[in-house]
């Protein structure tokens, strides 16, 4: 397993280029939203971050499934890194979402935003993943338990989403709505480029972080082999 292949350099430079393009498109090309004004621009960073978080959790779960199905050694660290990055992007979703809520509605939090509440539940769930992982002795058992938990996580995503939707019926929160931006072509293009850039950035982060973990593990083995 190499850090650099498939070519991490190309991907990293690609992420840099796409991010630059995204910034230009968001702030120079996309028109301002008529209803929400300038603060609507948070949409271009908040939604891709949320989608990327889902993708990372999905990646973590896929690697977890591969671990359980094939017992391949590599999948544990890959699954762990996926979940870790998903959690980071999940927290970012909550924070950017809160900022957007404050900008749109004057409150830092609202229970009526299904996506925010879902990410809160997922945040709790995946924080427990790390507590679980650090409480079990390293070994095959920990790898399997972590993998099962990561799989439960992705099952929880749709189930929680429906639960939160159903809960809105009887919790009767103050319902805030945001007029979905009547997306012009430029807005949609800016969104797509932004989404692509953040996804690519997340993938580069995933590869780099994974490499760090692997090197760490290899060095530990090497140290054991070299100790007199």
């Amino acid at each position: 397993m190499s850090i650099t292949k498939p070519s991490l350099t190309v991907l990293a430079w690609g992420a840099a280029a796409l991010t630059t393009l995204a910034a230009v498109m968001i702030f120079a090309l996309a028109p301002e939203d008529a209803d929400q004004g300038f603060s609507q621009k948070i949409f271009y960073v908040h939604v891709p971050i949320a989608l990327t978080a889902y993708a990372c959790f999905g990646l973590g779960a896929w690697k977890a499934y591969r671990l359980l199905a094939t017992r391949g050694e590599r999948y544990d660290l890959e699954s762990y890194t996926g979940v870790h990055l998903g959690t980071i992007f999940g927290v970012l979703t909550l924070v950017t979402g809160a900022i957007w809520a404050k900008a749109s509605w004057g409150v830092w939090w609202t229970w009526s935003s299904n996506q925010l509440v879902l990410f809160l539940v997922l945040f709790l769930f995946y924080c427990a993943y790390f507590m679980l992982r650090f409480s079990v002795e390293p070994g095959a058992r920990r790898e399997r338990i972590s993998a099962v938990y990561a799989l439960f996580g992705v099952a929880l995503i749709p189930v929680s989403f429906f639960a939160i939707r159903l809960a809105n019926d009887f919790i009767h929160p103050t319902v805030f709505t945001r007029e979905g931006p009547q997306m012009t072509g430029e807005m949609f293009a800016a969104f797509c480029v932004s989404w692509a850039s953040i996804t690519l950035l997340a993938y580069v982060m995933y590869r780099v972080e994974l490499a760090g973990k692997r090197i760490d593990a290899n060095l530990r083995d090497l140290r054991e082999a070299l100790q007199p």
């Binding site: 004004g37 621009k41 971050i49 900008a103 760090g212 060095l219 070299l226």
Partner: protein, 55 residues
């Protein structure tokens, strides 16, 4: 800056800051890995030639 602009700056700013913090943490880890690699290389060089571990 209008308040709308401040919020947008805050949202993008948080994103950038978190990524940079991630870079900093990884840089610290890399420094530690570099140090450990150096130590292990020293250990390996110090071993008498006849005792080279196989593989």
């Amino acid at each position: 800056m209008s308040s709308g602009e401040k919020y947008v700056a805050a949202a993008y700013g948080v994103f950038v800051v978190v990524v940079l913090v991630w870079v900093a943490i990884l840089a610290t880890k890399l420094a530690r890995l570099e140090r450990e690699t150096g130590e292990l290389a020293r250990l390996a060089r110090a071993r008498p030639a006849g005792e080279q571990a196989d593989g």
